[in-house]
């Protein structure tokens, strides 16, 4: 990931985009932050936010044409928030505090402003604060221009005067009763000053046009650059009402023009680019997306005294109507994104930093390794940002850099290697045939969870399909792909491809959604089909039809890896319909389905998060769940949810016991795979089982309580057997003279296993087992 790529990813997360109101405001008043402050009763902070963007807050809070309210998202659930009225309340109820900021050191450049209306005065104020000497020429006897067309009631004169006090504070010179163009020519002004801003106001519409024409005889109004407000004459800038027809005059646009002109003049006088990075000046449309469907509609807060404006209480109520626009679409649906307390724009930066640092603590390792890679974020993101792809790429980079924490995915990778070892793996054509038109690939987790289902399904497929149905027992390589081990995954895929080639490239029937996704993506030359499509097409075995208990409702948990496989969703539902079950669609289903917590190896990198994911998912319906992926079923069931696998229904298993079944632990999952291979070898091909490891003969006695602990610690029976085998053969063990128990350790690969045991009646009674990855030097000290 380079800086450019990071920038592109960050830009796709719109959470930090301004709210619609602030974007539409020509000077970008942050009405969202302002409302949040008022909602808390903090009028002082709110007033500060308002003053930051608006030089004349008293005036603007009374006469602003408030383009913000036209785009307020609250309109989708009631009326727009009365932003201008809240702004006025801020000033009414906050202690008066006018901070003009610290002016920069005086500069030797002089700027003339023609016109003492809002636009001219804003430019004058901004330029004076930057340290320029500013002179304002006003043709009338007072400043304010067209402001005096407002009634005293709408805009009291003392408010105008109070707002204009800041002009004195920043040291602006005002020349009243001087009309540029009449009393003093533009040429003379240009001669005398380093830059000029023309913002001629007018008492009437006619006069504005007339004055503008007269003043700018030498100018072409239509040639004023809308970005910089530069006129065609050097050092002259022009803006305000002069740029707009009378019906489109806007106080806030005038202020915006003044501000824009001040930036241009400053740049002009500093001899830097007038046009560089001027995005975000003036009104624009925000990219921020905010869902309003679930927001309760609320009407505008009314004022007890309309002339007075909002009371404190009324303003607080009205400010609370602000929905505080933000996106967070992905964070709302993804427990992973939610659990790290921020949102993707921040996360991609953290991930980038994590990959870039040479020395120091890598804080984002867990962030990178906890994602299920399921892609739900992209489904709900207005800009299709896929954090799963970011995390998977990051894992690849970490592996390449040698920076992947060894403990993160070690266990599932070893599980995968075990599935692909001689003990479990098998690839053969159907007994009695040489060629295969089809190949059943049940996937390592169905073999581990329910070998009986594999056996029955294979037998069904052999019976229903002609042309020979081959069988391949192994892992598709998903754990390697998920963990970023590109080489390991590539090796695993080559093995599958070679075996598939040797079988004559049959159509692959997949019972696991993850295998389906892996082969669809990485083995595009293979024709693949989901088992559910095949069963939907071929029909179901006898016991599945007209099941007497099949009247209950099942909530369908779609596998996240099938999110774009509509045909699989349909086949699953067709099968359920045919058996006679009623179906409930979960709020997040089909293309928006949630991961069960296994995807991306989330459970191994962050078990606590995975358990939260499971618990959140299973609370979404009271009904029994139906899964069609063995891992989904076992994970959901591990949270105590009654969950059926689709094959339970296909083969007419007793519903209650099938739904309540907890998935087997790690040891049993290994054993199930081994037994399945041996059973099929014997039953279908008449071959005897491959020899067991000698330590496999060591008989263990393990209490249920300890077994649960060993499961958490990822200690398999075979690990314990290896420790005991080593300890007993080499007499390398410790004896506790008080308890009479032995303690021994052994390190077959990266993990050291410790086992506390006694021997009784021909079996080893296991009292405890634990592990560590740190290495101990045990050289003799004598």
């Amino acid at each position: 990931m380079d800086q450019e790529e990071l920038g592109k990813l960050e830009a796709r997360c719109i959470q930090e985009q301004p709210a619609a109101c602030a974007a539409a405001c020509p000077v970008h008043v942050d009405a969202r932050a302002l409302s949040a402050a008022v909602a808390k009763g903090d009028f002082a902070s709110a007033a500060k936010i308002f003053r930051k963007s608006v030089p004349f807050p008293g005036i603007i809070s009374r006469i602003c044409d408030h383009p913000c309210e036209a785009v307020c998202k609250r309109r989708e659930a009631g009326e727009a928030v009365s932003i201008r009225a809240i702004e006025k309340a801020c000033l009414d109820w906050a202690e008066d505090f006018r901070d003009t900021g610290i002016p920069l050191s005086k500069k030797d450049k002089r700027v003339a402003v023609a016109g003492g209306g809002l636009s001219g005065l804003t430019a004058a104020f901004d330029l004076a604060r930057k340290g320029y000497s500013v002179e304002v020429f006003e043709k009338e006897a007072r400043l304010g221009g067209s402001l005096f067309r407002f009634s005293e009631n709408d805009l009291p004169h003392d408010i105008v005067e109070a707002d204009f006090k800041v002009l004195e504070k920043v040291g602006i010179t005002v020349k009243l009763n001087v009309s540029v163009g009449d009393d003093i020519s533009l040429d003379e002004i240009c001669e005398e000053f380093d830059a000029v801003y023309l913002a001629p106001g007018g008492e009437s519409d006619e006069e504005t046009r007339g004055r503008g024409n007269r003043l700018t005889k030498a100018l072409r109004i239509d040639l004023i650059d809308p970005l910089t407000l530069a006129a065609t004459t050097p050092k002259v800038f022009a803006g305000g009402s002069i740029r707009r027809p009378p019906e489109r005059r806007s106080p806030i646009e005038s202020i915006s023009d003044g501000r824009r002109a001040a930036i241009s003049i400053d740049r002009y006088l500093q001899n830097v680019s007038l046009t560089a990075s001027r995005i975000g000046e003036g009104p624009y449309e925000t990219r921020l997306f905010t869902r309003t469907e679930e927001i309760e509609p609320l009407p505008e807060t009314s004022m007890a005294d309309a002339d007075r404006g909002y009371s404190m209480e009324e303003a607080i109520l009205e400010a609370r109507r602000c929905i505080q626009c933000q996106c967070l679409e992905c964070v709302k649906v993804c427990e992973y994104l939610n659990s790290f307390g921020s949102y993707p724009k921040k996360y991609v930066r953290q991930i980038y930093n994590n990959l870039s640092i040479v020395m120091g603590h890598r804080h984002a390792n867990k962030l990178i390794n906890s994602c299920s890679l399921c892609g739900l974020c992209r489904e709900v993101c207005p800009d299709d940002l896929h954090m799963g792809l970011v995390c998977r790429k990051a894992r690849e980079i970490m592996v390449k850099q040698g920076r992947m924490p060894p403990s993160a995915h070690d266990f599932p990778i070893r599980d995968m290697l075990f599935s692909n070892s001689e003990k479990c793996a098998l690839a053969r054509p159907q007994p009695g045939t040489e060629t295969s038109s089809h190949l059943f690939f049940p996937g390592c987790q169905l073999c581990a969870s329910s070998p009986e289902h594999v056996r029955k399904t294979y037998s069904l497929l052999c019976e229903k399909l002609s042309g020979g149905v081959g069988l391949m027992l192994r892992c598709c390589g998903a754990p390697a792909e998920w963990s970023g081990r590109v080489d390991l995954f590539s090796d695993s895929l080559s093995d599958v491809k070679l075996l598939w080639d040797q079988m004559g490239r049959p159509q692959i029937i997949l019972a696991c959604s993850t295998c389906y996704e892996i082969f669809r993506t990485h083995l595009p030359e293979a024709e693949i089909v989901s088992l559910w499509e095949v069963l939907d097409l071929l029909g179901l075995p006898e016991p599945a039809q007209n099941d007497p208990v099949a009247s209950r409702v099942l909530a369908i948990h779609d596998a996240c890896s099938t999110r774009h496989e509509k045909h699989i969703h349909e086949s699953v539902r067709n099968i359920l319909r045919r058996i006679g079950f009623k179906m409930e669609e979960l709020p997040l289903s089909r293309e928006k389905s949630e991961c069960c917590g296994y995807g991306g190896l989330m459970f191994f990198a962050n078990p606590e998060l995975a358990r939260n994911v499971i618990n959140k998912r299973i609370r979404q319906s009271e009904a029994d769940f139906l899964a069609y992926c063995a891992m989904c079923r076992d994970y959901l069931a591990s949270g105590g949810k009654r969950t059926l696998h689709l094959l339970d229904l296909v083969f007419g298993a007793p519903i209650d016991s099938a739904a309540q079944r907890r998935g087997p632990g790690y040891t049993l999952r290994h054993e199930n795979r081994v037994r399945l291979k041996n059973m099929l070898l014997k039953e279908l091909w008449g071959e005897s089982a491959a020899g067991e490891e000698y330590y496999g003969m060591i008989r263990l006695s393990i209490s249920d309580e300890l077994r649960e602990l060993l499961e958490k610690r990822q200690v398999l029976d075979s690990d314990i057997q290896q420790v005991i085998d080593f300890a007993e053969r080499s007499n390398t063990k410790l004896l506790n003279r008080r308890t009479g128990r032995f303690l021994a350790h052994y390190k077959p690969a990266a993990v050291t296993y410790w086992v506390e045991y006694t021997f009784s009646d021909g079996e080893f009674v296991i009292h405890n087992a634990y592990t560590h990855r740190m290495e101990i030097s045990e050289e003799a000290k004598l």
Partner: protein, 70 residues
């Protein structure tokens, strides 16, 4: 990883091979290229070490995580 973590019942442990009780001594414990001398019970003849459960599942896991994120 201090002595208290490592030595709850010092005299109870016996190395079966050397038939000697374990004694406290400096043992090098390392991970991912880092190495620390730690006071642990060990057989003074063959060097066999005792790592108690609390140390393995507690402090060691912490240090492992720390070094993995380094």
């Amino acid at each position: 990883m201090n002595e208290q973590d490592a030595a709850p019942t010092e005299t109870d442990w016996l190395c079966t091979k050397c038939e000697l009780p374990l004694e406290m001594g400096k043992v090098n414990v390392g991970y991912l290229g880092s190495m620390f001398p730690v006071d642990l019970l060990r057989c003074r003849r063959c060097g066999q070490v005792f790592i108690p459960e609390e140390l393995a599942m507690g402090k060691m896991v912490e240090v492992e995580k720390l070094l993995e994120d380094k």
